[in-house]
């Protein structure tokens, strides 16, 4: 099977002071995307290259009859490319009636995190992360960056 579809936990089960995230890994950093933004989670996909497209556009793929634009999150955030041969997964988000697949290294579990573990970006956060992050959550053993999906998808077309 090509696609793995994650079940979205019922929103109502999260308490008022808890937020639910889908976690993913990019360049060894754990990130989270609010669960409401996630339409789909996909495994390895056949991606058609789009000639002349900006480098962060990995190409397009076919998701049940809809054309989804694949965005390489590493490139988008200015991080070094993954070593060739690493498996990729993606998280599908929608904006302005278009579907976008964010290519990441790994998509992991869904976490429900209390809001008091949330903090704004520390000043020491590297620039490329700070530009696309809304803040971080302190987990037991590591930090999770909350991705600003709107920012990631705000790819301005070249005039």
């Amino acid at each position: 099977m090509d696609n793995t579809v994650l079940e979205r936990p019922a929103e109502t089960s999260a308490g008022r002071d808890e937020r639910v995230f889908v976690t993913l890994t990019v360049a060894d950093q754990l990130c989270g995307v609010p669960v409401q933004s996630v339409r789909d989670v996909l495994g390895e996909q056949v991606i058609t290259r789009i000639p002349l497209a900006p480098p962060e556009i990995a190409g397009s793929l076919n998701l049940r009859g809809r054309i989804v634009t694949a965005i390489d999150l590493r490139r988008r955030m200015g991080l070094p490319d993954a070593p060739p041969g690493t498996p990729r997964m993606s998280v599908v988000a929608e904006q302005g009636n278009e579907l976008y697949a964010l290519l990441v290294d790994q998509v992991s579990e869904v976490l429900s995190l209390p809001s008091d573990s949330f903090e704004l970006n520390p000043p020491t956060l590297p620039a490329e992360w700070a530009a696309h992050s809304l803040g971080i959550h302190r987990l037991a053993d590591r930090l999770m960056v909350v991705l600003d999906v709107a920012r990631v998808l705000a790819l301005a077309p070249e005039a």
């Binding site: 497209a53 397009s60 054309i67 302005g96």
Partner: protein, 880 residues
């Protein structure tokens, strides 16, 4: 919201849109009888319905407007721009109230005293009177200003009526194209249904999926010969194609619908900025997806406003420049290669290039050096940047600098592009190109650099395999060779040299640069007026694909016009030959402007057609294909007789109606030149003939007929160049129908014992839907028709009724004319015919009875109507 009210609002909105157009038309041609009747009827209907529904403010305003129109109709008040403005003011007020009604469910509170006073002053002749001298003594307008007629006594909405009201899903019907001859409207009105837009949306998506799945199946089937699936799959494929066509039709609307507010807008603008402006709309019937239509309305309006406000000069300036005083804004729409092209052109002063340069500099958008290196076209494109406006004065109309960038964004959001051309002193043209989203097009699949691409079949002229430029093959294959000019490859194709471009190179794909030239596949494509050869590695086959616009971030890549999913599930990009040509600096699209920017449309035949040239109603030359004309006759004045108000002549044993092309028959002429058309109608078992009266027959020429279509003048197909002159080509079908008449057929049944069968003749959907159930509830069997012509056809077909109820104010044939026709003879001559009207003054009722109506009741007076019916039928029964 109440169903009745919802229906009323929908119908009112449609009527208001029509009113705008009709009033502007009337202003231009004050003696346009049908338009005046239309306006009167629309206002009258609104007024009547308002009274019925208890909407006093609306009724008040409509009533006052109607009084003015009565005076115009009776010839007492002339049509002047000022008068029209006052009436348009009333229309605007009605619109306001209707909007408020739509939001709140009740009329917004407000004060119409000033407006109504102005209208009444006009109607009573107290306003500056351009009225004709010696006007007959006019009875002062009876309707007092202050008194709103009392709402009718009867209950507002009998439950039966509500139940029958159509499902209130509010998808507006497309307003009928005003330029179409009125006969076209009548048959459609009774056979339409309102459907929600989202339902259509879902249907369309499903059909697209079906097409893709069908493609997949076909592809699989191709790999298995002689499978049992073959035949049913073919059938499925055909059905899918038909389904796809049908569903697409539901989404397509003529672009004229987006244009229908523009005549009014331009008229008001022209008055506001004190210029003379003529709006020409071509290609209004070009169809596009309704959603796209919605989205381009605003951008188009903005561009027209810009042209009117900034582009066109004042009359004085134009005179000084040697231009005609009246500035022209031309809208032109046509299909091209899977897109709709809309041009907005004005013949004004063009864009001020120096001011644009200065502004770009002052805003830091470019340096002096960069500006110096740019072409004029590139400089013009600065106006699409945000906040850019070179208007020295920001007027209320435009110049606020928020315009063109928003226009560009909106157009690009739907996957379109906008470009412009401007010539100082001559004018500016904006060219908008919009994809037909969800269009399912045929495309050629090609491969370059190990990737596949689709090229729309429409752009593909031919496929060529290039001979190598060396070796023995060259000797036999001189037809298509790749040659080099200065190192740049060109293709010699028969007699032409075409520029060549390598697709793989253009898209910067990895490809084997080694395998050049020999045996290369070249796709020859049409780009504007020129051709371009695209070198590819391989050509597959043609497939039907669903075009999906590219994601917004990719819109700037002009080589692609969309992407799609192939039968095997892979996503491929769709190439745009125009974009490729532009990227290569090939003059394809650029050179077009040296010819006419107006699109030469379809109707070109390769053969030479014999054309009859004549003059009618003006100095210009007109033409008709000679093959359609049966005979040319010269008819003496004495032979022309009048029959039922129409000139006829006895011709070879039949009565031939005469129609004057110029509109009115000049009876002072001794002899009339007549083109005789004979139309044999086997279905009806007889032939019709018609004589078209012209001023002078000029000549017969044989030429290739290339008609440039223009849809806005009834009776004319368009313009062509014949014998070196611009010639109007007439629409023969239109003129034939102008002369057609119904005729009498015998055959009737006697009335048996069954519930009385009543015929309702009422053109307003709304009222028909009210009356029919109300009558049915009383136990009558009801048939409804929406025009007097329909009613007469029913009579001639032998249908029999016990009574006829007819509206008075109807287009083409009103109630008075109908009753006249019915009483004149035929099976319905003795039937009780009851008039229904919004006007129930004594004079009106007397007129009605005088014309032959058995009785005359108010439209909204249900009790009176039923009583009258009972009485009339009772008397007939007694008499029988």
């Amino acid at each position: 919201m109440d169903d009745l009210l919802a229906d009323f609002l929908t119908e009112a909105n449609e009527s208001l849109a029509e009113l705008d157009l009709a009033l502007v038309r009337l202003e231009r041609t004050p003696d346009d009888g049908p338009t005046l009747s239309l306006i009167f009827r629309l206002v009258h209907t609104i007024k009547g319905t308002c009274g019925f529904l208890g909407l006093p403010r609306l009724e008040h305003v409509a009533h006052a407007a109607e009084n003015v129109l009565v005076k115009v109709r009776d010839g007492v008040l002339a049509v002047t721009p000022d008068n029209i403005s006052t009436v348009l003011g009333a229309v605007d007020r009605i619109k306001e109230i209707v909007v408020g009604l739509g939001v709140a469910g009740t009329e917004p509170s407000g004060d119409d005293v000033a407006l109504v006073a102005a209208l009444n002053a006009l109607a009573e002749g107290r306003a500056a009177p351009p009225a004709p001298v010696g006007a007959p003594a006019v009875a002062p307008v009876a309707a007092p200003v202050a008194a709103a007629p009392a709402p009718p006594a009867e209950p507002v909405a009998p439950p039966a009526a509500v139940a029958v009201a159509p499902a209130p899903v509010a998808a507006p019907e497309p307003t009928p194209e005003p330029a179409e001859p009125p006969t076209a409207e009548a048959p459609v009105a009774g056979q339409t249904i309102r459907v929600g837009v989202d339902v259509l949306e879902d249907l369309m998506t499903l059909v697209s999926e079906l097409v893709l799945t069908r493609n997949q199946l076909l592809q699989l089937a191709r790999t298995q010969e002689d499978s049992a699936f073959g035949v049913p799959l073919q059938r499925l494929s055909h059905i899918t194609s038909d389904l796809q066509e049908g569903v697409m039709k539901t989404r397509m609307q003529p672009i004229g619908n987006a244009w229908n507010k523009l005549p009014r807008l331009v008229r008001d603008l022209a008055r506001e900025v004190d210029k003379r402006i003529e709006l020409v709309m071509r290609g209004a019937e070009t169809e596009l997806d309704r959603q796209v239509l919605e989205l381009i309305k605003d951008p188009l309006t903005h561009m027209v406003r810009n042209s009117a406000d900034h582009g066109l000069e004042s009359a004085a300036e134009r005179r000084a420049a040697g231009k005609p005083e009246s500035g022209q804004i031309v809208l032109n729409a046509y299909h091209e290669g899977g897109h709709i092209i809309i041009e907005v052109a004005d013949d004004g002063r063009g864009l001020p290039i120096d001011r644009i340069r200065a502004k770009a500099l002052s805003r830091g958008l470019a340096s002096e050096a960069e500006l110096a290196a740019m072409t004029d076209a590139q400089i013009y494109r600065f106006i699409f940047r945000a906040g850019f406006s070179t208007a020295a004065v920001v007027t209320a109309v435009s110049g606020r600098g928020v315009g063109m960038d928003v226009v560009k964004t909106n157009i690009e959001r739907i996957g379109g592009t906008i470009d412009l051309k401007s010539y100082p002193g001559q004018g500016t043209t904006f060219i908008v190109k919009i994809p037909l989203t969800l269009a399912i097009v045929s495309a050629l699949i090609v491969q370059a650099g190990r990737e596949r691409f689709a090229i729309p079949q429409i752009s593909v002229v031919e496929l060529v395999r290039a001979a190598g430029s060396d070796g023995a093959a060259a000797a036999d294959r001189t037809e298509s060779r790749i040659e080099r000019i200065n190192g740049t490859p060109v293709l010699r194709l028969r007699d032409r040299l075409l520029p060549l471009v390598s697709l793989a190179g253009l898209l910067r794909l990895d490809h084997d640069t080694g395998a050049e030239e020999a045996g290369q596949c070249i796709v020859v494509t049409q780009v504007g007026a020129s051709m371009l050869g695209i070198i590819v590695d391989r050509v597959f086959d043609t497939e039907e694909i669903v075009v999906k616009p590219v994601a917004p971030i990719l819109r700037h890549i002009t080589m692609f016009s969309g992407n799609t999913i192939l039968g095997d599930g892979s996503v491929i990009m769709i190439l745009d030959p125009n974009g490729i040509a532009r990227a290569n600096g090939i003059a394809g699209s650029e050179s077009r402007h040296s010819e006419n920017t107006r699109r030469e449309a379809v109707a070109q035949s390769e053969q030479r057609t014999a054309m009859l040239l004549f003059r009618a109603g003006g100095p210009g030359q007109m033409a008709v294909p000679l093959g359609l004309v049966a005979r040319l006759e010269d008819i003496e004045r004495e032979r022309i007789e009048m029959s039922a108000g129409q000139p006829v002549v006895q011709y070879r044993g039949r009565l031939m109606p005469l129609v004057a092309l110029s509109g009115t028959l000049d009876i002072t002429r001794e002899r009339q030149a007549v083109l005789v058309f004979i139309d044999v109608d086997h279905g009806l078992g007889r032939d019709r003939c018609m004589g078209l009266v012209v001023d002078e027959i000029l000549d017969v020429v044989e030429e290739r007929l290339k008609v440039e279509l223009s849809g806005d003048r009834p009776g004319l197909l368009g313009t062509a160049v014949v014998a070196g002159k611009a010639t109007d080509v007439i629409d023969t079908a239109y003129w034939l129908t102008q002369a057609t008449r119904d005729w009498f057929r015998s055959g009737q049944r006697s009335v048996g014992i069954r519930p009385p069968h009543v015929l309702v003749v009422e053109d307003s959907d709304f009222f028909r839907n009210l009356l029919v159930p109300a009558l049915a509830a009383e136990g009558y069997e009801v048939t409804a028709c929406d025009s007097a012509a329909r009613a007469l056809r029913l009579r001639d077909a032998g249908t029999m009724f016990d009574a006829v109820l007819s509206d008075i104010e109807m287009p083409e044939m009103g109630g008075l004319a109908l009753v006249h026709a019915l009483r004149a003879g035929g099976p319905w001559a003795e039937l009780p015919i009851i008039a229904l009207s919004g006007r129930t003054s004594e004079t009106d009722m007397a007129a009605g009875r005088g014309a032959g109506f058995t009785d005359y009741v108010g439209k909204f007076d249900r009790t009176a109507l039923l009583a009258s019916l009972r009485q009339c039928l009772g008397e007939t029964a007694r008499a029988a």
